[in-house]
């Protein structure tokens, strides 16, 4: 079964990276190419035969390959302030230097950005639009800021507009049955991923595996192989030994540290076990609805970072309760201003660390260790 998971992973990776410059050997894709943000309704693109790529995810790969620093420096030399999101700084550096562990992404024919995770990504996509001189579509998701009915009308009008523009670009006509099929695939991927994530509190799972494996849910959620992969991984996970309950259960609240070999501060967490993470739930999208447009609306308007503080607090509190965590490491991420406020009222002791998920130079490990030691002391003396 393990081999099956590895084969599926390899197949998904091969498919995704096929046209990156290191492997394409000058060959361009026959299909149109879109660059998209992480919560774009890619089922529409899939149904229209458009290839799509995630610059954010590639920034994570670059950091994991320990190649981010020269790229961050280059983007700063090109006048992009280092205070900006490091995903963008890293990729801008990569594009300037034509450098990256898998080369660079295939050239875009269109750029699609959404603001259902933050408002920074559309800003970044604007500078990409200036760089490539290609059309930019921004999809505006009001989230819970307005009542569902009004939000649905606004979002579904934009989704229909997106379809029309992509039909024109691709020369293909959308078949709603095909779109429904890809949405089902995404639902299936989400379903199996949830089973894996739900095992974290009780099984001896390395969080590293979850932080890495979620990438398929991000970049290939409507590919049927993703659900197959997660089904296989789920079986593996269930066969793992139970978690060591003598360790302090800790919730990892924030992004994985992509530059870190383990994606979290393993060197600071002796005596703890990570039993929960909010990041691994972000792409567990809820595709509920009567038709394809309502399903896409439900999934993409109500992403975690697009919810009200009240709902985020409720969801986080439930996640933490279900995980059994008694404390949390909360990441004040320089690159994601919308995230850390989520942890305002979670009701358990927290060590709040200043970090960046890409830029390793941003972390003071010594300070982080002290904060986590203090957290341990707090928990143990309660």
């Amino acid at each position: 079964m393990a081999q099956s998971a590895i084969k599926l992973q390899s197949s998904l990776m091969r498919e995704y990276y096929k046209y990156f410059s290191k492997y394409a050997k000058g060959k361009s894709p026959e299909k149109k190419v879109a660059w998209v943000t992480a919560f774009t309704p890619v089922e529409i693109l899939e149904a229209l035969g458009i290839l799509y790529y995630y610059p954010e995810s590639y920034a994570a790969v670059i950091a994991a390959s320990e190649r981010e620093q020269p790229l961050l420096e280059k983007s700063e030399q090109c006048f992009l302030c280092r205070d900006c999101c490091s995903y963008s700084c890293c990729i801008e550096g990569s594009l300037e230097l034509d450098d990256g562990p898998r080369g660079t992404l295939p050239m875009p024919d269109i750029l699609i950005a959404t603001n259902n995770q933050c408002n920074t990504l559309p800003n970044w996509w604007n500078i990409l639009a200036e760089r490539y001189g290609v059309p930019l579509i921004v999809i505006d998701y009001p989230g819970e800021a307005i009542p569902r009915e009004r939000a649905y009308e606004y979002v579904s009008t934009q989704h229909r507009d997106l379809v029309a523009r992509l039909e024109e670009l691709s020369g293909n006509k959308l078949d709603e049955n095909v779109l429904a099929h890809y949405i089902e695939n995404s639902q299936e991927s989400v379903c199996w991923w949830k089973k894996i994530a739900e095992a974290l509190p009780n099984k001896e799972i390395k969080p590293t595996a979850l932080f890495d494996d979620i990438s398929y849910l991000i970049t290939a959620r409507c590919n049927p192989n993703t659900a197959e992969l997660y089904k296989a991984v789920s079986e593996e996970v269930n066969a793992l030994p139970d978690a060591d309950k003598s360790l302090i259960p800790l919730f990892w609240l924030g992004y994985p540290l992509w530059y870190h070999p383990e994606r979290y501060l393993s060197e600071c967490l002796d005596g703890f076990r990570i039993c929960g993470s909010n990041y691994i739930t972000w792409w567990s999208l809820d595709y509920s609805g009567r038709d394809v447009y309502e399903k896409l609306f439900s999934a993409y308007n109500y992403t975690f970072l697009n919810l009200s503080q009240k709902t985020r607090t409720e969801r986080l509190t439930k996640l933490i309760r279900d995980s059994g965590a008694v404390c949390a490491v909360t990441l004040h991420n320089k690159s994601c201003k919308c995230d850390f406020v989520s942890a305002k009222d979670i009701g358990i002791p927290q060590a709040e660390l200043e970090i960046d998920m890409i830029d390793r130079s941003f972390l003071s490990l010594e300070k982080a260790k002290k904060q986590i030691d203090l957290l341990k002391e707090t928990v143990c003396t309660r």
């Binding site: 500078i127 930019l136 009004r150 503080q309």
Partner: protein, 277 residues
Amino acid sequence: MKILSLSGFVPEQICDTIRFTGYSAGTSISHYCGYASDYISQVLNDASFDGAVFPKSCDSSRIIKSYLGQTDKFVYQLPVPARRDEIAVNYFAGEIRAYKEAVEEHYGVDIANINIKDRIEALNKRNEEIRALYENLEEKSYSEYLRGIHKMLATPLNEQSIPHPGKTNTGGKRVYLVGSFLTSEGILDTLESSGLNVVGDNLTESGRLASITPCKTDGDIYKNISESILSARLSPTQNNFGDILERDLKEIKEKKVKGVIFLTQKYCEPYDYLYSV
């Protein structure tokens, strides 16, 4: 009713709001826009205000409500569209109506269409006068002009007076300012004492305010207000850097500008990204 507003997207046509122009002793939030955190501080600490209205337009404004959770004041986040097409105009019109209804409900007042129409006319007149001032900016003291606008926006509409800036040294080097709301007024003195003559800008409270097309009073007034607000030259939060560059560069050429001064707040990503292009 005394509502502190944060943005040029807040429809002044609906009711009086006091424009936020700065506040000391601000809350400190790491990696977070100082302008927004000062606004949060004033809403929380200044008892003379009983309400707050702010947009959802950038990452900092997006989470203001999270920090205002403990106040029992009127707190309203206006969803500003991230685009400017017909879809956005219709959507924003609906949100302006919802804002009006929320004000009515919270304060127990009735905002009649006739009152909104009166305010539209008054605002059209005010904006026309600002436009006339803006078009002759090179002859005026820019610091007096901008300070006058700040004072005007922090006053109820029927008490507002148009600034009357004195003359400036027209022989100064002609410069153009790019940026968001300019809270640090000391910068204005530095510019003038350096012998610079600001002949244009795209600041929220100046160049963008002057560019708003008059709001119609017939037909659907909410759609009219929406069209009028969205007609202003763009903020980088509206996702069309190309349009901003084209319009700014055209004005810069026409006004024979010798230099551009780009003002950014720390942690103001929309302008940080704009700067890079």
